[in-house]
C-alpha cells in the first residue's frame, strides 16, 4: 500500500484518549472543546502549500440540451491550470448510490438547475471562479417536468430515456376491498427540506506517485464513495484512497458524491493537490435534499377506533437522479402507516424523476413525510369518533409480537402505548397568560403580540423507524482492534472506516474498547479506506453495526490474549478473564500480567460484523421481513399560536424514546434534541422553495432553520428495553426524534388554530387564510 508522500494540514490525526468511560458513561468527546473554541479542523480547512483550487460550472436550466461547450477563454485565463468537461473523464461518466444514472459532468443534456457541467482548476479560488464564468455553453432549453404527480403522466417530458418512474413499492395485505364503519381520509403535502449542515462540501485531492489519488473529504461512507470515484476515474481501489476529513454535519446530505470525483479529476490532470470548497449558495445545489411528498391517505376503523384498513398513495419527487430514492420509497411504504396494527393494507408508493433538484437521504428517510400524514389522520379519526387523540393511538399502537404491515413480527420491545403515556403525563408548561417576557410569545422581541390572538394547542405524535440497511442488503461493518503494551501500559487501537460526522462515534468506539478489554487508553485511528468498509453513517446504524464490529473485534483480541495466557499458565482459557493490565482467574486471583503475556507483541484482529439478515419483500405484496430493528419515539408539542397573525411559538417539545441501551447518555440526549429541532424545523419553516425547477432561496437568509429562540427546552425520557438481537441491546437513536417531533408540532398548531393545515412547513399565511 502506498501512503501519500505528504499529508495535508487539517487532516484528522489519531484520537488518543485516556479518559475513563465505558458503556453507559458519557465521557467528554475529543472534538467537543475544539469545536466550541473554533479550533476543530473541518474539511474546508485542509491545506497544502502547493495546492490549487477547483471550481464548478453548473447548469442554469432545469432541463436543456448542451449544444456546445467552449472552454477557450477560460483556459486562456492567466492562473488557470485546467478546464475539464465530460470528455475528460477517463472512466465511466456515471455514478450513483443505487443506480449509476448520474453523470460526473453533464454530457449532452442537463437535467436539473445546478448540475455540474465543467470544472476549472486555478492557482487561486477567485481566478477559478472567474474562469468558470468564461466557459461558454450553448444550451437548448427543453420542456421540464417539475411536479411529481405530473411526472407519472405518460405524456410528461421524460427525464431519462427509461421513463420517470424510479420505483413503485406495493403493499397488499389482507382483504383487497376492505370496508369499515368509519372512514377518514386526507391529502397531505410535504415541502422540500434541506439538511442544512453548516460545513459546506469540501475536500482535497492529492495526486500520488503510483498514478492514483488520495482524497481527503467530508463524507458519510468512505467505501461507497471510493467505489464510485474508482468507476469514474477508471482506477482500481488500491489507487484511490479516501480519508475522512473533519465533517461539519451530514444528516444524509453527504451520502451522494459532491466534489469527490471533480477534485480527483483536476488533481490527476494537473499533477497538483486540488482543493474544492463550495460556498453556501453552491452547497444548496451541491447535495440532495429531502424528498417533497404528495400523500393521499384513507383509514377505515371500527366505532371504537380500532383500525381496520389503511389505503395509501405516496409520490416522492426524487428530482433529476435516483440517488437513494428507491430506499426512501421502501421506507415510506413499509413504515408509512405508522406504528399501528392494521390488518388490511394497500400501499402504492412511488419515487419519480423530475427536473427538480435531486432528492435523496435525509434523517428520517421517507418516514418523516409519511408521519405527517398518518398522524394527522389519526387525529382526524379520533375527532370523528369523539375519542381522545392519545387513547386512539394507544389502542392501535404496536406491541412486541405484533405483525406490521409487511407481515414482519416485531420481535423486541414496541412500547408505543407506554411512550405516549409518558409524554402525556409530563408536566405541562405554564399557561400563555402567565408568560410576560416577549421572547416567550409568538414573534418574540419582534413585538407582534402582547397576548392578543394567542391560543395554546397541544399535539401528539408517535413513530417507528427502521435501524440499519434493509431489504436483504449485506449490511456490515469492519473493525480492526490491536492490543499492545506501550510505555508499560496496555493500549488498544481501533481502526474503522465508519464516518464520524459529529454524532460521537469516536467516543463510542473508545467506550466499547474500554468495556471489552478493560484498558483505559484507546487510540482511534483516522478513518480511511485502509481498513474494510464501515458502512454508511446513516439509518441510525453506526453504534449498532460499527459498534457491533468493534465489540466483536475486541472479543476476538481478548480471546487470543486469554488463549495465550492459558497456554503459558496451563489452564483452560475459559477460566480466565482480562481486566485491564491483569489476567484474572475464576478465583479472582491475578494469575498473570498482560505485559508478561504480550511481551513486545501486539495482538490484532480484524472482524467483519453483520446484523441479522433482512429480506427482499415480495414485489407484488410487499410482504417480508424487510428491516432488522425498529426504534420508537413519541413527542408532545405545546404551542402558542397567534391565530390572527399566524405566528407560532413552540413552548414545549417533550419526548420519550426507547433506545434499548444508552451507550453514551449525553450523546443520546444530543441526538434527541437535535433531531427534534430538525423535525420541528420542517413543520414550521424549513423549505427549499422550487418554482419551475429553480431554487428560489439558496441561502440561510431565506432558508430558515430554528434558532435558540425557536427551540423550547425539552423534557426527555429515555427507556432502555434491550433488543436481545443487538449489541448491548441498543437501538439506533438518531432518526426517530426527527420523525415524531414535526407531526406533533403540526398537530398542536391545528388544535390551536382550528385549521386543517394539510401542508408543511406551515406558513403564517396558511394559518391566517380564511
Amino acid at each position: 500500500m502506498t501512503t501519500p508522500t505528504k499529508v495535508p494540514t487539517g487532516a484528522p490525526t489519531e484520537t488518543a484518549s485516556t479518559a475513563e468511560g465505558r458503556i453507559g458513561d458519557s465521557p467528554l468527546r475529543p472534538d467537543g472543546v475544539l469545536k466550541v473554541t473554533g479550533e476543530f479542523a473541518y474539511s474546508s480547512d485542509l491545506w497544502m502549500d502547493d495546492m490549487i483550487w477547483g471550481a464548478t460550472l453548473r447548469s442554469p436550466h432545469p432541463h436543456a440540451r448542451i449544444v456546445s461547450v467552449d472552454i477557450g477563454a477560460a483556459l486562456a485565463t492567466p492562473g488557470v491550470c485546467a478546464v475539464l468537461t465530460a470528455d475528460d473523464i477517463p472512466g465511466r461518466n456515471a455514478v450513483g448510490l443505487e443506480h449509476d444514472d448520474q453523470p460526473v459532468l453533464a454530457e449532452r443534456v442537463v437535467r436539473y438547475q445546478g448540475e455540474p457541467v465543467a470544472l476549472v482548476a486555478a492557482d487561486h479560488p477567485e481566478i477559478a471562479r472567474q474562469a468558470v464564468k468564461k466557459i461558454v455553453v450553448d444550451y437548448q432549453v427543453l420542456p421540464a417536468v417539475t411536479d411529481g404527480r405530473q411526472a407519472l403522466d405518460p405524456s410528461a417530458p421524460k427525464v431519462h430515456e427509461h421513463g420517470n418512474l424510479v420505483r413503485h413499492f406495493k403493499i397488499r395485505k389482507g382483504d383487497p376491498a376492505p370496508s369499515a364503519p368509519v372512514v377518514v381520509s386526507l391529502d397531505f403535502e410535504v415541502g422540500m427540506q434541506d439538511q442544512a449542515f453548516l460545513g459546506p462540501e469540501s475536500g482535497l485531492a492529492v495526486p500520488a506517485e503510483d498514478g492514483g489519488v488520495d482524497l481527503y473529504v467530508a463524507t458519510q461512507w468512505l467505501h461507497v464513495d471510493q467505489r464510485q470515484v474508482c468507476q469514474a476515474l477508471g482506477l482500481p481501489p488500491e489507487r484511490v484512497r479516501l480519508s475522512l476529513a473533519g465533517v461539519g454535519g451530514a444528516f444524509g446530505g453527504r451520502e451522494d458524491l459532491s466534489m469527490h470525483v471533480h477534485a480527483c479529476l483536476l488533481a490527476l490532470h494537473t499533477g497538483k493537490p486540488v482543493k474544492m470548497v463550495y460556498n453556501r449558495e453552491e452547497s444548496f445545489f451541491g447535495h440532495v435534499h429531502r424528498h417533497p411528498a404528495d400523500l393521499r391517505y384513507e383509514f377505515g376503523a371500527e366505532a371504537d377506533g380500532t383500525l381496520v384498513y389503511g389505503k395509501v398513495e405516496i409520490i416522492f419527487d426524487g428530482g433529476a437522479y435516483a440517488s437513494s430514492t428507491g430506499a426512501v420509497v421502501a421506507n415510506g411504504a413499509t413504515m408509512g402507516l405508522g406504528p399501528y396494527r392494521i390488518p388490511h393494507v394497500r400501499v402504492d408508493c412511488y419515487g419519480v424523476y423530475t427536473n427538480n433538484p435531486p432528492c435523496g437521504a435525509m434523517r428520517g428517510f421517507g418516514c418523516v413525510q409519511a408521519a405527517f400524514a398518518h398522524e394527522a389522520l389519526m387525529d382526524e379519526l379520533a375527532d370523528r369518533l369523539g375519542l381522545d387523540r392519545v387513547t386512539i393511538r394507544q389502542r392501535n399502537g404496536m406491541r412486541e409480537g405484533d405483525e406490521n404491515i409487511t407481515g414482519q413480527r416485531i420481535d423486541s420491545a414496541a412500547p408505543v402505548a407506554e411512550l405516549l403515556q409518558i409524554v402525556r403525563d409530563m408536566e405541562l408548561p405554564p399557561s400563555a397568560s402567565e408568560q410576560r417576557d416577549l421572547r416567550d410569545l409568538p414573534g418574540g422581541v419582534a413585538n407582534s403580540t402582547h397576548g392578543e390572538g394567542v391560543v395554546r394547542g397541544v399535539g401528539y405524535a408517535v413513530t417507528y423507524k427502521n435501524v440499519g440497511f434493509s431489504e436483504g442488503f449485506d449490511d456490515f461493518s469492519t473493525a480492526r482492534v490491536r492490543l499492545e503494551i506501550t510505555g508499560g501500559e496496555p493500549v488498544a487501537t481501533v481502526h474503522t472506516a465508519a464516518a464520524e460526522v459529529g454524532q460521537g462515534l469516536i467516543t463510542v468506539e473508545q467506550q466499547i474498547c474500554r468495556t471489552e478489554l478493560g484498558v483505559e487508553r484507546v487510540v482511534v485511528h483516522p478513518k480511511d479506506t485502509q481498513v474494510g468498509s464501515g458502512g454508511s453513517t446513516s439509518a441510525s446504524r453506526q453504534t449498532y453495526v460499527t459498534g457491533g464490529a468493534v465489540k466483536a473485534a475486541c472479543e476476538a483480541v481478548r480471546q487470543r490474549v486469554l488463549d495465550r495466557a492459558a497456554a503459558t499458565i496451563g489452564v483452560a482459557a475459559n477460566t480466565l478473564r482480562l481486566d485491564g493490565a491483569k489476567i484474572v482467574a475464576e478465583s479472582g486471583d491475578v494469575v498473570a500480567a498482560l505485559a508478561d503475556v504480550l511481551g513486545g507483541d501486539a495482538v490484532e484482529e480484524t472482524v467483519e460484523w453483520r446484523h441479522r439478515p433482512t429480506q427482499r419483500v415480495d414485489p407484488e405484496t410487499g410482504q417480508g421481513d424487510a428491516h432488522v430493528q425498529y426504534a420508537f419515539s413519541a413527542h408532545r408539542a405545546v404551542v402558542d399560536v397567534d391565530v390572527e397573525l399566524g405566528l407560532v411559538k413552540v413552548v414545549a417539545l417533550d419526548t420519550a424514546q426507547d433506545v434499548g441501551k444508552a451507550i453514551n447518555p449525553d450523546a443520546v440526549m444530543g441526538q434527541i434534541q437535535g433531531g427534534s429541532a430538525q423535525g420541528m424545523g420542517l413543520a414550521l419553516m424549513e423549505e427549499i422553495l422550487v418554482r419551475d425547477g429553480k431554487i428560489l432561496n439558496p441561502s440561510f437568509t431565506d432558508y430558515l432553520i430554528p434558532t435558540i429562540l425557536d427551540m423550547p427546552p425539552m423534557k426527555i425520557e429515555i427507556l432502555e428495553y434491550a433488543d436481545p438481537h443487538a449489541p448491548y441491546g441498543l437501538r439506533g437513536v438518531g432518526e426517530p426524534p426527527t420523525i415524531s417531533s414535526g407531526p406533533a408540532v403540526a398537530a398542536a398548531i391545528r388544535q390551536a388554530s382550528g385549521k386543517a393545515l394539510r401542508r408543511v412547513p406551515i406558513r403564517p399565511e396558511h394559518i391566517t387564510a380564511s
Binding site: R129, N279, E281, R439, P442, G443, G444, V445, A446, N447, S448, T449, H450, E452, G453, E644, L645, G646, L647, K649, L684, M685, L689, L696, N697, T701, D702, L704, P706, T707, I708, L709, D710, R763, P764, E765, T768
Partner: protein, 289 residues
C-alpha cells in the same frame, strides 16, 4: 480593490470626494455579504469605523444627533428612553453579533425596504444629515428613500447623522418574521404618537418598493383623536378606531409576493400590527397621564 481608511470626518469627506465610486463600509454586515456573494466589486472600500465623529451620539438643540456609525447594540442600551421606537426596532435586528456591528447609518445606506430601522425612523419623523466637501444638507427620512435599495445620497456624499426629536408620546414597533429571531421582516410597522403636535407618525416596512409612511392613516387618526378631545382626555379609544386605523395603514402599502411571504399576508399583517400598535401606544399614553 483599494481600502481607504480615513481617521477623521474631514478625511472621510475628502476621500469620498476623491473616490466617488468607493463604497463606504461601517459595520460591514451588508457590504461584506454583497462582496462574498459577488453581488458587487467596488474599486475601493471606504472604511468609516475609525471616524470617531460617526460613532457618537449627542443631544443637540433638543434633538438626538445619532452618528451614522452608532450600532444597534448601543441604541438599545443607551437610547431606549430618547428613541424608544428605534430601540424596539434595533432589538429585532439579526443576532447579537449583527447588533454589535450593524449601524443605523448602514441600514439607511443599504435602503432595503426590509430594513428594520426605517419604520421607526419614519414614525419619529427623523431627519437625515448628509455631508460632502461642498456642504451639509438635511432631509426628512421619508425623502431619503428613492427606490428599491436606492437613496438620495450623491456620489460624493456620506451620511453624517440621523436627527430625531425625543418623543412627546408613546412609540411602538412591530415586525413579522417567519421565525422568532434572526429574520428579515416579512412586514413591519412603526408608530409614534406626537401629543405635543397632536400628530401621528407611521412607518411601513417590507410592504412597498421603499419604506413609507401611511400618511392618510396618520391624518385620519390624528383627526379622530382631536375631534373627540382624546389627546387631552386620554379616554379609551372609541370602538373600531384602531381597526379603522389598521385598514388605512393597509391601504397605504403596495406589497409583492416573494419567498418570504405573500402580498395578501403582508397587507393583512400590517392591518393587525397597526391596530395592535395603536392599542398598546394608547394604553401607554393613558398610563403616562
Amino acid at each position: 480593490m483599494d481600502f481607504l481608511q480615513p481617521r477623521s470626518w474631514a478625511e472621510a469627506l475628502e476621500a469620498k470626494a476623491a473616490h466617488p465610486d468607493a463604497v463606504p463600509i461601517a459595520g460591514g454586515t451588508d457590504v461584506m455579504v454583497e462582496l462574498n456573494f459577488d453581488v458587487r466589486r467596488p474599486p475601493a472600500l471606504l472604511d468609516l469605523t475609525r471616524v470617531e465623529e460617526l460613532t457618537e451620539w449627542s443631544m443637540d438643540e433638543g434633538q438626538v444627533r445619532l452618528g451614522a456609525g452608532v450600532t444597534y447594540a448601543r441604541v438599545i442600551t443607551e437610547l431606549g428612553r430618547e428613541l424608544p421606537g428605534l430601540a424596539m426596532a434595533s432589538r429585532t435586528v439579526g443576532s447579537p453579533q449583527i447588533r454589535n456591528r450593524g449601524t443605523v447609518g448602514g441600514n439607511l445606506g443599504a435602503a432595503s425596504p426590509a430594513g428594520d430601522s426605517h419604520p421607526a425612523l419614519l414614525a419619529a419623523e427623523a431627519q437625515v444629515e448628509l455631508a460632502s466637501l461642498s456642504g451639509t444638507r438635511t432631509m426628512p427620512v421619508s425623502d431619503f428613500y428613492t427606490g428599491v435599495k436606492r437613496n438620495a445620497l450623491e456620489p460624493d456624499e456620506l451620511i453624517a447623522a440621523i436627527l430625531i426629536t425625543p418623543p412627546s408620546g408613546p412609540q411602538q414597533f412591530c415586525k413579522i418574521g417567519t421565525r422568532n429571531a434572526m429574520v428579515i421582516a416579512v412586514s413591519a410597522f412603526g408608530l409614534a404618537l406626537h401629543p405635543d403636535r397632536r400628530a401621528v407618525g407611521t412607518g411601513i416596512g417590507s410592504a412597498a418598493p421603499t419604506p413609507r409612511r401611511a400618511r392618510e392613516a396618520e391624518q385620519f387618526l390624528a383627526q379622530a383623536l382631536d375631534e373627540d378631545g382624546l389627546w387631552d382626555s386620554r379616554r379609551d379609544l372609541p370602538a373600531g378606531l384602531a381597526h379603522d386605523f389598521g385598514a388605512r395603514v393597509r391601504a397605504a402599502a403596495a406589497p409583492i409576493d416573494d419567498v418570504r411571504g405573500t402580498a395578501a399576508y403582508r397587507l393583512h399583517s400590517l392591518a393587525v400590527m397597526a391596530r395592535r400598535a395603536l392599542t398598546w401606544a394608547w394604553d401607554d399614553y393613558q398610563k403616562a397621564a
